[in-house]
Symmetry: C2
């Protein structure tokens, strides 16, 4: 399971200021800390980027790739910003991402073809609603896969995000279980061992004491790993959760065990 | 997932001495601590009990049932001791357990019928060898189930133990994964939602620093829970692992989430 840092977020005042000033250094400082903390990829979550989105995303990709070799996830719904990020990319970039919303199918999905990039497909209804259960999610996965094929994109470029729902939702615990069933069912329903990613912080979005949120994260992450999740988007500064992520890797990868890998 | 304490062990000097002296009090002190730490059942692991096994197991069952209502697991291969424990039982007792070894089929399995007790079936070969993978384990589960039926025991009394192997075995990580696949496959292969139990401490038996062992336990337990495990045999004094077990319960039981349940 690859650990993707979700820490480079526009909601972080340092990031917001750096983008306003078009200054790469504060971004690079965060990325260096992420790498040191165990990040194996960086999600560039710059939000909708209504102003100068293309310039800002290009700056973000360049800032990261100037100092490390970690893959970057271009996380915005602004297709111009995505394209600018893909143009700036000199290493590995993943589009994060698209859904069945018609605007995204028309403007974002073709970029994966044009730039031969991996792309994340969200298991959401076209109107942005979250499916109620695994069966609905798997049907959407088939639709996502069909759209990929129509767009002429190799299936190996697809990464599925089942969209973790906040546990405090009225059907939160049921959703937590349905996500696991979805992950378990994806390879069979799509006919190949499709990669997957999930945003762990979503689980505890909105409430809870820090220690309780960490406990839920640490407990849910191995469940996701055992269900086949291949990439986890997480707060890489949650040290205990990173330790659990490493242990997940040891426990789900066949090979001779060594304590040093923990 | 029900938390069963594995702490009442003959290898514990206090337990050994109490049994030599036929003194219930030290056993009761341990059980009180277990209950306080979160135990929902107590495994009475008194080993092979070569001397006065019947008296000792009866003492153990009575000692516990005099002070609390927790179910007891009668954990020995000595069938006379098991029967004495079942006779002494006034609340809930579970036989732990039997395998396809002919001696156990002849002497232990019939006790489940005679005393209408739940019984744990080990997924082991008759010679005691551990199966190599999930497919072998599921075949053994079918044989165990067949023996239960031949003995005229209601299937609802069966609890399956897939037998966790130490991670440091040469095929340890592979075994860890195969156990999960086994748990996921049991309901379908047996045709009903059979209960299951696993000894978590087995995973790290034999080595590792304390912090590393706890990390592996905390990571593997949610994987087991997500794969359908219904009871976990564990060191109930590992506080962090107990916290994770509680969080597992919250995440795998449908219902409205409340932070207070953690």
């Amino acid at each position: 399971m690859i650990r993707v840092a979700d820490n480079l977020q526009i909601t972080h005042p340092t990031v917001e200021k750096a983008l306003q000033e078009m200054n790469p250094e504060p971004l690079q400082q965060i990325v260096r800390r992420c790498e040191k903390a165990g990040a194996q990829a960086i999600d560039i979550n710059f939000g909708p980027l209504p102003k100068e989105g293309a310039r800002k995303m290009a700056l973000g990709v360049e800032a990261i790739q100037d100092i490390c070799d970690l893959p970057v996830l271009i996380d915005t719904a602004n297709s111009e910003a995505i394209e600018a990020g893909l143009k700036a990319n000199r290493k590995t970039a993943i589009i994060n991402g698209f859904s069945l919303e018609s605007n995204k199918l028309e403007t974002i999905l073709p970029l994966a073809k044009k730039y031969q990039a991996d792309i994340i497909g969200f298991l959401l209804y076209p109107n942005g609603h979250v499916p109620a259960n695994a069966s609905e999610r798997l049907n959407i996965a088939i639709d996502i896969f069909t759209e990929m094929q129509k767009a002429g994109i190799d299936k190996e470029h697809l990464i599925i995000d089942p969209i973790i729902a906040p546990i405090i939702w009225q059907n939160g615990t049921s959703q937590a279980k349905e996500i696991l069933t979805t992950l378990q069912g994806l390879p069979e329903i799509l006919g190949f061992s499709v990669r997957s990613i999930a945003g762990l912080s979503n689980l505890t979005a909105g409430s809870g004491y820090y220690s309780q949120r960490i406990l839920l994260e640490k407990t849910y992450l191995p469940m996701l790993a055992a269900s086949g999740l291949t990439m986890v988007l997480m707060n890489i500064f949650h040290r205990d959760t990173v330790k659990v992520a490493r242990a997940c890797k040891v426990l789900t990868n066949p090979g001779v065990f060594a304590w040093e890998e923990l």
